[in-house]
């Protein structure tokens, strides 16, 4: 990858930029060493991400075989099946549960990150460990544990029923709200970590300045701290929202029939119906739904960054 073809002069020039340009980093191209360092991860992405994604897109356009395989030739049958009237409701549910759980993770993660970044360094390390500690227990076990906690005869349901908040016959489990709640639980650490990383770099003198200029605690927090960690918010949003869109285990275990998400449908097409092209079509639709907004956002950001760098003084 780092050896340019001798007949092609352009990559050769890119591989050997003028020394001055290189030291000033005016050249946007990668040096030979940078290419070498990037080659392995690029190869990894190509083999384990790009190729499988393209395969899924390809399978979506193949006909299914009666024995659960992928047939020859091209067919729009699987894509057409997406028009099933059941899907819009499930897609809508997937979106609102994912968005709600993401919002919950960000809303809970922000004050956590703030408190951690403001804590003394000794406490900070301890709190960071506390955030990561749940990962020591297997994910499945933790979700199963919630089934015990929220079980109709479990402690929470009994207590709520006793104080009269929970009507008889109402369940804490097997509904979309259970999926949302447990999703917030499961993904909160993934939100806290990038938020903390951003909060740690935040200049807390800015909050003093905001107070000095007449902002109360809350307004200083929302007007100055929250925009100040927006990079962390964006990362937290991505690492929580995108996996949630495809989440499968949590709705399967605590969602019941009313809490099924698109991930469950993909699994059903795959394991129950043995209709791999339709599963692939659903996956592809989900991937596109995630990739297109992300692509738009990065184009927008790239254009803004270019605009900002042009507006900056030399």
């Amino acid at each position: 990858m780092s050896d340019p073809a001798p007949s092609d002069s352009k990559p050769l020039a890119a591989a050997k930029p003028a020394p001055a340009a290189r030291s000033l980093r005016l050249s946007r191209g990668l040096s030979r060493g940078e290419w070498a360092a990037t080659a392995a991860p690029l190869l990894w992405l190509a083999v384990f991400f790009a190729a499988p994604t393209l395969l899924i897109f390809a399978m979506a356009m193949r006909p299914p075989t009666p024995y659960g395989g992928v047939g020859e030739g091209w067919s729009t049958e699987a894509i057409g099946a997406l028009a099933d009237p059941n899907y819009p409701a499930i897609i809508w549910r997937t979106l609102w549960i994912s968005a709600g759980a993401t919002a919950g993770c960000l809303a809970l993660g922000l004050p956590c990150a703030y408190a951690m970044a403001r804590a003394r360094p000794r406490w900070r390390a301890l709190l960071l460990i506390a955030v990561v500690v749940p990962f020591w227990t297997n994910f499945l076990i933790r979700i199963f544990a919630w089934r015990q906690v929220l079980h109709p005869d479990g402690p929470v349901a009994s207590a709520l029923r006793w104080i009269g908040v929970l009507p008889d016959g109402a369940l804490l489990l097997y509904n979309p709200w259970a999926v949302l709640f447990v999703s917030v639980y499961a993904y909160l650490p993934f939100a806290i970590l990038p938020l903390y990383a951003a909060a740690e770099k935040f200049d807390f003198a800015l909050l003093d300045a905001a107070r000095d200029l007449g902002a109360g605690r809350w307004r200083a927090f929302f007007r100055i701290f929250v925009p100040g960690v927006r990079g962390g918010l964006a990362t937290a949003f991505l690492v929580v929202f995108i996996p949630l869109l495809g989440s499968y285990v949590i709705p399967d275990l605590v969602g019941g029939a009313d809490g099924q998400l698109i991930g469950n449908k993909i699994a059903q097409r795959n394991f129950n119906d043995r209709n791999i092209p339709e599963a692939a079509a659903l996956s592809a639709a989900l991937a596109l739904a995630i990739a297109l907004p992300a692509l738009l956002a990065s184009v927008f950001r790239w254009r803004r960054a270019r605009h900002a760098s042009e507006g900056a003084p030399a």
């Binding site: 800015l206 300045a209 000095d212 200029l213 003084p313």
Partner: protein, 317 residues
């Protein structure tokens, strides 16, 4: 009104922070408008006020840039405008120029002075730079370990320091310790062990037998090769040049006289290459008038550590 217990947002005070603390995600205009917005003033009322402030600090053409796109001096001016727009009763400036280079600092100091004249409110200006303090202040409070050591006009701080701390902290000085041998009406005689008998000005009433400490600024001392003419109140001591630093307009001499090593600052008023200035090892006379020393009220030996001595890095005065 005692504001000690008020939260910062309720105090009629605004601050210019040392690090500027400009909000990076807001433009210059938004930064300046932040205070009035927090005070919930009407939008239509805020906008012209912001423009006026932009004009005051000469940042009109940068109004829509973000702090990251500004130079240090421009950021400083945004910080000042952002604070002043709230019309505080007192503007607190916490080492506002510390992060800037020397030339910019001098220019901004003049600008700050002009802004001060224009807005007319009290500026409390915290600085470690005596030059800044002297040049911009009407009154200086010299602080030592969180306590005010002296509040006075700059010239009084410099010429009539109350304690050895103030004398040594602001500018450079020499301390002479002596015992009054003969108290007079205007001048008294004192014996300085290791230096000899000197005449002192009665800056405060003294009686025979009192222990006194004189602060003698280096520029008040005259260095000469010949013995100066005797006059009432004139002190003259023989010494040897032990160290000399040439600064251009002035030279600093450290003269060994008895047990003392006195620092003297000599102004070169004449064309120096036609002269023969004293050099290392030369025997000289040092002289000063009793009027030019000042009797300190309080003296602590540890303040001598603040004096510049030739074996340390002698800072430019």
């Amino acid at each position: 009104m005692d504001i000690t217990d008020l939260p910062p947002e309720r105090r009629p005070v605004n601050t210019v922070f040392q690090s500027y603390a400009l909000f990076p995600h807001m433009t210059v205009r938004e930064n300046i408008a932040f205070g009035p917005q927090m005070a919930k003033r009407a939008k239509a009322e805020i906008a012209p006020e912001v423009e006026r402030m932009l004009e005051l600090v000469a940042l009109g053409e940068h109004a829509d840039k973000r702090p990251g796109q500004l130079s240090g001096g421009q950021r400083q001016r945004v910080a000042i405008a952002r604070a002043l727009i709230n019309r505080p009763q007192v503007l607190l400036l916490d080492e506002p120029l510390a992060a800037l280079d020397l030339k910019l600092r001098q220019r901004l100091l003049v600008e700050l002075d002009a802004i001060h004249d224009e807005v007319g409110i009290t500026f409390v200006y915290v600085t470690h730079d005596q030059g800044e303090a002297m040049s911009i202040s009407d009154r200086i409070a010299v602080m030592n370990r969180g306590k005010i050591a002296q509040i006075d006009a700059p010239a009084r701080i410099y010429e009539a320091p109350r304690s050895s701390f103030v004398a040594a902290f602001i500018g450079d000085t020499n301390f002479l310790e002596g015992k009054v041998t003969e108290a007079g009406a205007d001048f008294s005689q004192a014996d300085v062990p290791g230096l000899g008998a000197i005449t002192i000005d009665n800056d405060r009433p003294v009686a025979a037998g009192d222990l006194v400490h004189v602060s003698l600024r280096p520029e008040k001392i005259v260095v000469s090769r010949g013995q100066p003419a005797a006059a009432a109140g004139q002190n003259a001591v023989r010494g040897v040049i032990e160290d000399a630093i040439y600064y251009g307009p002035t030279s600093r001499y450290w003269v060994r006289a008895g047990d003392y090593k006195l620092s003297a600052e000599v102004q070169h008023r004449r064309y120096l290459l036609d002269e023969e200035p004293p050099k290392w090892g030369d025997p000289v006379w040092i002289s000063w008038h009793a009027n030019d020393g000042y009797l300190l009220d309080q003296y602590r030996e540890e303040d001598e550590a603040l004096l510049s001595l030739p074996d340390e890095d002698a800072a430019l005065p």
